[in-house]
């Protein structure tokens, strides 16, 4: 739709006959499918087939530890059972609350940092590398580092924070053993790990905003607060959209962090859908329930990203 016209007039190469004429570059209807075929085949094999298999398993009664049981078709029973399971709702609430808090904090911190880097600073490129370190580390390593930091009797944070709180007579802070505090600790680590990502994406967005609106605002004598809300934020919208969508999808399925730091505990305080899924499928071997759960998760993620894209598109169009 952007640039189709000029190439329609391409001369047909004299050598292209037979197979090449039918599927080759000169056939503009079929050739893109030839180019996409390997990707689509691989994604079909690893994407669609597991999806269909999940649908099949979720419609049956499969317990991995009891393969001798006959597979019975149970219809929508697994979904029904999940919806009536308070554990599921708890996990869903935990996941959503985790995602919303983490992404919200990461967005504003990342935006603040990106705005600070808009000034001309000495050594900006070196400082940028230091800021990006958490995001470059494997998620596994980030989780291990903070598990160590918060480990009772060994970590840096427990030692120094414990020193302060003991002096105040409060005893040690149960970073990972109190349900509420453990949840906030996980959010802290997620923010530590992924604010750099927001920072990077939003910096790139800021760099692409043209200068003219700012010059016009300066002539009008607009306050910097007003400039931020009326010029920077609307023009930054495309970058915000991508950064927030990617982060939301990834925060929603955070795995390593939670499994390594709390294993979903204490109790089930930090059991998100992902952890609940792993426990159901790989600890209790209830493959059918796990498959139904994974399909529900998939639906939630697709709906979420659809809504995001719709909302942002309509707003951007309205702004234009």
């Amino acid at each position: 739709m952007i640039h189709a016209e000029p190439s329609q007039r391409l001369p047909v190469h004299p050598r292209s006959r037979g197979m090449l004429a039918r599927f080759g570059p000169s056939n503009r209807k079929v050739f893109p499918w030839v180019l996409m075929a390997p990707t689509l085949i691989i994604l079909f094999g690893i994407g669609i087939y597991p999806f269909l298999y999940s649908l099949y398993i979720a419609g049956h009664n499969v317990i991995l530890s009891k393969p001798y049981l006959p597979r019975i078709f149970v219809g929508l029973y697994q979904y029904h059972a999940l919806i009536q399971d308070p554990e599921f709702w708890h996990a869903l609430r935990t996941t959503l609350w985790f995602t919303v808090q983490a992404v919200f904090i990461e967005f504003w911190l990342g935006l603040g940092l990106a705005l600070l880097f808009q000034r001309s600073l000495r050594g900006a490129s070196v400082m940028r590398v230091f800021i990006l370190i958490p995001m470059i580390l494997p998620p596994l390593v980030a989780a291990l580092i903070w598990r160590y930091m918060f480990y009772p009797g060994a970590g840096l944070v427990t030692y120094y924070a414990g020193g302060i709180t003991r002096a105040l007579g409060w005893g040690e802070i149960p970073f990972l053993s109190d349900p509420t505090i453990a949840f906030q600790t996980l959010i802290f680590v997620d923010v530590w790990e992924w604010t750099p990502f927001m920072f990077l994406m939003l910096s790139a967005g800021l760099a692409s905003i043209p200068r003219q609106p700012y010059e016009a605002a300066e002539i009008d004598g607009a306050s910097s607060w007003r400039v931020f809300w009326t010029i920077t934020m609307p023009l930054l919208r495309p970058a915000i959209l991508i950064a927030v969508v990617i982060r939301t999808m990834d925060a929603f399925r955070t795995y390593e962090l939670i499994v390594i730091m709390t294993r979903g505990g204490p109790g089930n305080a930090t059991t998100t859908l992902n952890v609940f899924l792993t426990k159901t499928g790989l600890e209790f071997f209830d493959a059918s329930k796990a498959a139904a759960l994974s399909l529900i998760m998939m639906m939630i993620i697709i709906v979420m990203s659809f809504v995001f894209i719709r909302v942002f598109r309509s707003r951007t169009e309205a702004a234009e």
Binding site: M1, P6, P11, H13, P25, F31, P32, W33, M36, P38, T39, L40, I42, L43, G45, I46, G47, Y49, P50, Y53, S54, I57, L116, S120, R122, S125, M127, R128, V129, F130, I131, L132, I136, L137, P138, P139, L140, V141, L144, R147, Y148, Y159, W192, L200, M201, A204, P238, A239, I242, F252, Y255, N274, L277, G281, A290, S294, M298, I301, I302, S305
Partner: protein, 285 residues
């Protein structure tokens, strides 16, 4: 940096910015972001007693005990090689295959293009644990469990959506008249692609490849459940040193150094491409 000096003298320049607090904030963030990693790296060079002491030992005599233990007694280098092979091969395959798909999506206007593009992206949305069980069963049937080709195939498929998504934006930026003039001069489509489009795309392809390689190197969930001995990569191997009642922190620290060293080296060397590459992708999409 020169701009700071000119702002002072030039009469119509904006007022001089007072940046003192900005430096304070940014340096604080740098410390918070870097110190935990630095501390774990330092732990890797401690001996067992220093690492186990309750009060942090900021001054200590460095030793390579933990590394010796990991390399000679635990044979971690075979996991390292597995990770390296898997990361390199899956990057090569996903970029080579995804490149053509991205090209088709960027250059051709066919029915269902937006649907294909959205469908490719939905493949990235699926949480890995959600497809773990079906993939486990498929791998068991195809005898791919605990093999390097199995992991390479899986990672290639996992990274494809990302590659296609990034490269589609980049291909759109390259004017198609370059290719067309090459084809008018008698080159076939493939020759034009190879001689004109590909060189222009190289910086973007490099940036994408770096990201894909990092993602493959870091992958944890599949590696944990689909490998056991032969094809075990670094992430599950390292997990083993973090569980149990008495964790040897210096061994864990050394393991963290080994898994992150290639990444840090790579990022330091490729810093510019990395940041500019990602920025372009963001701005264009």
């Amino acid at each position: 940096m020169a701009t700071i000096d000119t702002t002072i003298t030039s009469p119509d320049a904006p007022p001089v910015q007072r940046n003192g607090w900005v430096y304070a904030v940014i340096i604080a963030v740098c410390v918070v972001n870097f110190l935990p990693y630095l501390w774990v790296v330092m732990t890797g060079f401690m001996d067992g007693a220093a690492a186990a002491s309750r009060a942090p030992q900021w001054i200590f005599t460095p030793t390579l005990d933990a590394f010796r233990y990991l390399i000679f007694e635990k044979g971690i280098m075979s996991n390292f090689m597995n990770s390296l092979i898997v990361a390199l091969c899956s990057t090569f395959f996903s970029v080579t295959i995804g490149m053509f798909c991205a090209y088709a999506l960027a250059r051709y206007d066919f029915i269902g293009r937006d649907d294909v593009s959205f469908w490719v992206l939905t493949n990235r949305m699926m949480p890995p644990v959600a497809v773990l069980i079906p993939i486990f069963v498929i791998f068991q049937t195809l005898k791919l469990l605990d093999t390097l080709p199995g992991l390479i195939l899986l990672y290639t498929a996992m990274q494809l959506p990302f590659v296609v998504w990034m490269l589609t934006g980049y291909f759109r930026d390259i004017p198609r008249r370059y290719e067309e003039s090459a084809m008018v001069d008698g080159d076939t489509w493939f020759q034009a692609f190879r001689k004109v489009t590909l060189p222009l795309m190289m910086p973007s392809i490099t940036a994408t490849a770096i990201f894909v390689m990092i993602l493959s190197w870091n992958e944890f969930a599949f590696a944990t459940f689909l490998t056991s001995t032969n094809a075990k990569t670094m992430p599950p191997a390292i997990m083993a040193y973090s569980i149990g009642a008495d964790i040897e922190w210096n061994v864990l620290g050394a393991a963290v150094v080994l898994i992150t060293a290639p990444l840090i080296l790579f990022v330091l060397v490729m810093q510019r491409q990395l940041i500019s590459g990602l920025s372009q992708g963001v701005v264009k999409k």
